[in-house]
């Protein structure tokens, strides 16, 4: 598929050029996966487990098969190949294998002539269950040894001790990515026993690997196409309906469409891991961190997904962007009967940041020093070892600079108006402005870029010069973040040719670009496009003996020596690159080693108004300063910073997936609250450019940092306003009023 990217746009790196897919998006013409359809298609639907843990005694698909318009009813027995899938560990049955291990686990799938029939048919299947006690308490799971992974970090002297000690226990709730577009997929038989698949995804090649294994097919029989996607934030990193829609299409020989509604979407994708963290920070009398001891417990839910990697992030960022020579971390991610967890923006670093930044504030209070001064004093700089792994990365890390830049942003005027739209609780509130208390809080966060722990992380891109212009071929998912624009800008800048289109290739036409996650695509696919463009340019220049490539040909000493048509006389010329970041390694048994490829740092300051009587909060402002390496597209960066902050604010004051005995109690937009325009704080951003050694033009991945330290900043501000300890995010009204 070539999504409409050929709109003429100008501009190289460093400019805020418009998105090439912007016009189709504002006119309603952009094709999302949920918009795909064909006349002869069938609709798929899923029967799900009503229990968090239960044995499936019998399954009678007869009533569904007897319904007019039903074309297929499939169960685990119908899975042609490997009956399990999973990105890191294949442990989740494609369909229930006799035991349901979480609420909403898929049990059977149906294809029918229309959506309503498919849903009625799925509901008519008679499943007999023997409910089992769900393991829903992560601490009990840890005691029982029900683990996906355990990671121990031991660095420095375990006898080391400080004179000033603060201890705290912190919790964060599960958060839903809630991308506005729900899961959708469309499978089309190719007439030779294979399929073309269009599914919402963050990484088509990793989907493809799992799908062909479960379908027992050759790689070239299934082609996964990047499809239009309405946001991701981690929710598309793991398989949802991909294998199901493919199975239904193969079984019926017809195109099949599946689309989750919002409630099904809530059970149909992985979440942010809820966490509990026990922290002990020790400092000397001057405020230098001497030792950090922590236990981190994440609930991975029923199946592994990316839990192992999420745990590693939480563990390696236990201390944050601070120097500390003595560190003891025991981190576990447990297996329970709660909703499966996986990737969400920030990926483990969010949870840890809430813990360590809460601790840094307490330590400052205990020492009687300014909390920002304490952070500056202990700040990790480029060339300092990471407190946990001991890894030294030879790259700038402007921790102090982001703190300074943030502090320099002016604070807002005091609340002066009784306009209810400006008060906590909005128009429903009765408290006058004079009773509202203001608080200000700060937090700083550290995140790795790209994949870690020795994973063979690469991105492939092919840059092609044709008579009509340049094509950048990639399978990297554009999920809204603006990678498409950045790829164009990079190619344009290197090649000197303005007309650049991005063409998304399916899995059979290009190698993997890796996942659109881990803040990695600007550096990885951006790096691949950069290297491929350089390779192409240099070859053309060498072939013609030129010294510059421009819109209309090759030049030498300012004179054109060949036109684009002449360059392409024998057809398009191209260069393919598989780009890798500096090698990383698995940690040793003490959690030590060169685990990461790069770091990025950001700081946030939140200003809140609180109604202490009702426990209501209005987040007035969240300002930020962030290291971006090099700003390739300043406007797109501002968009990432503002959007990421909003998800951090959500986790601080309203977003919580309420899970009770494994059952999600709020799987709708009515009950799972997402910040609206009225909840949105004003945001001021400061971009710091400390060039990365391997990012294209020095650029760093920036997508996750805005979500990491914004949550603890907001909670710190509420603490400042209320004087309450507030050790849990999100902060609920009852936490403030103390009921």
């Amino acid at each position: 598929m070539t999504t409409p990217t050929r709109t003429h746009v100008t501009g190289g790196i460093g400019t805020s050029v418009r998105r090439p897919d912007g016009v189709p998006k504002v006119t309603g013409n952009f094709a999302y996966a949920s918009d795909l359809h064909s006349k002869d298609m069938l609709w798929g639907a899923t029967l799900r487990s009503p229990h968090a843990h239960a044995r499936l005694i019998s399954l009678d698909t007869g009533p569904a098969l007897a319904m007019t318009g039903v074309r297929a009813v499939l169960t685990q027995d119908d899975v042609p190949g490997l009956p399990l899938f999973g990105q890191e560990e294949q442990d989740q049955p494609v369909l229930c294998d006799g035991v349901a291990r979480y609420w909403g686990e898929p049990v059977a799938i149906v294809a029918a002539d229309d959506e309503e029939t498919a849903q009625r048919a799925a509901a008519s299947i008679i499943a007999e269950w023997e409910p089992l006690a769900p393991l829903d308490d992560p601490e009990k799971a840890a005691d029982d040894g029900s683990l996906f992974r355990e990671l121990k970090i031991r660095r420095g002297d375990k006898e080391a001790a400080g004179t000033v000690v603060v201890e705290g226990v912190y919790e964060t709730a599960s958060q839903d990515q809630a991308p506005l577009g729900t899961e959708a997929g469309f499978a089309i038989p190719d007439g030779s026993g294979g399929l073309d698949l269009y599914v919402t995804s963050q990484w088509v090649h990793v989907d493809h690997r799992q799908i062909i294994a479960c379908l027992d097919m050759e790689p070239d029989q299934i082609r996964c196409h990047p499809a239009g996607i309405g946001g991701a934030f981690g929710a598309r990193e793991d398989i949802s309906l991909h294998i199901h829609v493919a199975m239904l299409s193969l079984a019926t020989g017809r195109p099949v469409k599946m689309e989750y509604d919002r409630s099904e979407s809530f059970v149909g994708h992985v979440k942010r891991h809820p966490s509990k963290m026990w922290y002990r920070h020790e400092a000397d009398a001057d405020g230098n961190l001497v030792k950090v001891t922590a236990r981190l417990l994440l609930d991975g839910g029923a199946y592994a997904h990316t839990s192992r990697a999420v745990l590693a992030n939480a563990a390696f960022f236990t201390v944050g962007p601070y120097r500390c020579d003595n560190v003891v971390v025991d981190a576990q991610v447990v297996k329970t009967n709660n909703p499966p967890c996986g990737a969400m923006r920030g990926f483990g670093a969010v949870q840890a940041c809430f813990g360590y930044e809460s601790q840094m504030d307490r330590l400052a209070e205990e020492l009687g020093v300014d909390p920002l001064d304490l952070r500056r004093q202990n700040a990790m700089r480029g060339g300092d070892p990471l407190a946990t792994s001991g890894q030294v990365i030879d790259a700038p890390l402007p921790t102090v600079e982001v703190i300074d830049a943030l502090e320099a942003i002016p604070l807002p005027e005091p609340l002066a108006s009784d306009d209810p739209r400006l008060l906590p609780g909005g128009t429903g509130l009765t408290t006058p402005a004079s009773k509202v208390v203001r608080g200000v809080g700060y937090a700083v966060g550290l995140k790795n870029v790209a994949f870690s722990e020795g994973f063979d992380d690469y991105a492939e891109a092919r840059v092609v010069l044709t008579r009509a212009g340049v094509e950048v071929h990639t399978a990297a998912m554009e999920v809204g973040q603006g990678l498409v624009t950045v790829c164009q800008q990079i190619a344009r800048t290197v090649l000197g040719i303005e007309n650049v289109a991005v063409v998304w290739d399916d899995t059979s036409h290009i190698g993997s670009a890796g996942s659109t996650s881990a803040s990695r695509q600007t550096q990885m696919t951006g790096g691949a496009v950069h290297a491929a463009s350089v390779g192409l340019r240099d070859r053309i220049l060498a072939d013609f003996g030129g010294d510059e490539l421009r819109n209309d040909g090759v030049y030498r000493a300012g004179e054109r020596i060949a036109t684009i048509d002449e360059i392409c006389a024998e057809g398009p010329v191209e260069h393919l690159v598989r780009f890798r970041h500096p090698e990383t390694h698995p940690p040793d048994e003490n959690g030590q080693g060169d685990v990461h490829a790069g770091f990025v740092v950001a700081a946030h300051r939140a200003v809140v108004d609180v109604d202490p009587e009702l426990g209501l909060v209005r987040v007035v402002r969240v300002d930020t300063a962030q290291d971006v390496g090099k700003a390739l597209n300043p406007q797109a960066i501002t968009g990432q910073l503002e959007g990421g902050i909003m998800q951090g604010v959500g986790l601080a004051v309203m977003e919580e997936l309420v899970v009770d005995h494994g059952v999600i109690r709020n799987p709708t937009f009515t009950d799972y609250l997402i910040p609206t325009f009225l909840d949105a704080p004003a945001v001021e951003t400061r971009i710091i450019e400390a060039p990365d050694p391997w990012g294209p033009f020095g650029a760093k991945g920036i997508g996750e940092s805005p979500t990491i330290s914004s949550t603890p900043a907001v909670v710190a501000a509420i603490r400042a306003a209320t004087g309450k300890a507030l050790t849990r995010a999100p902060v609920r009204p009852q936490d403030i009023v103390g009921i």
């Binding site: 504002v26 094709a31 739209r421 809204g480 968009g639 325009f677 949105a680």
Partner: protein, 153 residues
Amino acid sequence: MNVTITVNGEQRVADVAASESLLNVLRDDLDLPGTKDACEQGECGSCTVILDGEAVCSCLVMAADAEGSEVTTVEGMGEEGHLHPVQEAMLAEGAVQCGFCTPGFVVAGAHLLETNPHPSELEIREALSGNICRCTGYGAILRAFETLSEEGT
């Protein structure tokens, strides 16, 4: 049953089920997929259309009740080369990321400016508070509408 609706100035007839929403009919029967479906509960505004002069969530309107009505969807707001000022402003300010919320903001925002050409910041926030955007944090959308408000489009 057949319903006749004037959509984007064109009279259209659709065979609808009694329980079918206007959103479904627009997307599935009238081949106008620009209007988006993200909650079907009136909570997100992705499905906003103008129905007889009012901005409504088309997921909450029964198609049968729209008989004889005039509906404007995002497809009727502007097209490449002739964008509506709201579409142009959203592009200029970078207010579009994944774009799934965008049709709803275009329609609701155009309706806001028609009824109030110079909305204040708070009026913009209030009028568009029924439209959820999960990507942008609303900052760029606010800047787009503040520019439009100054211009008094």
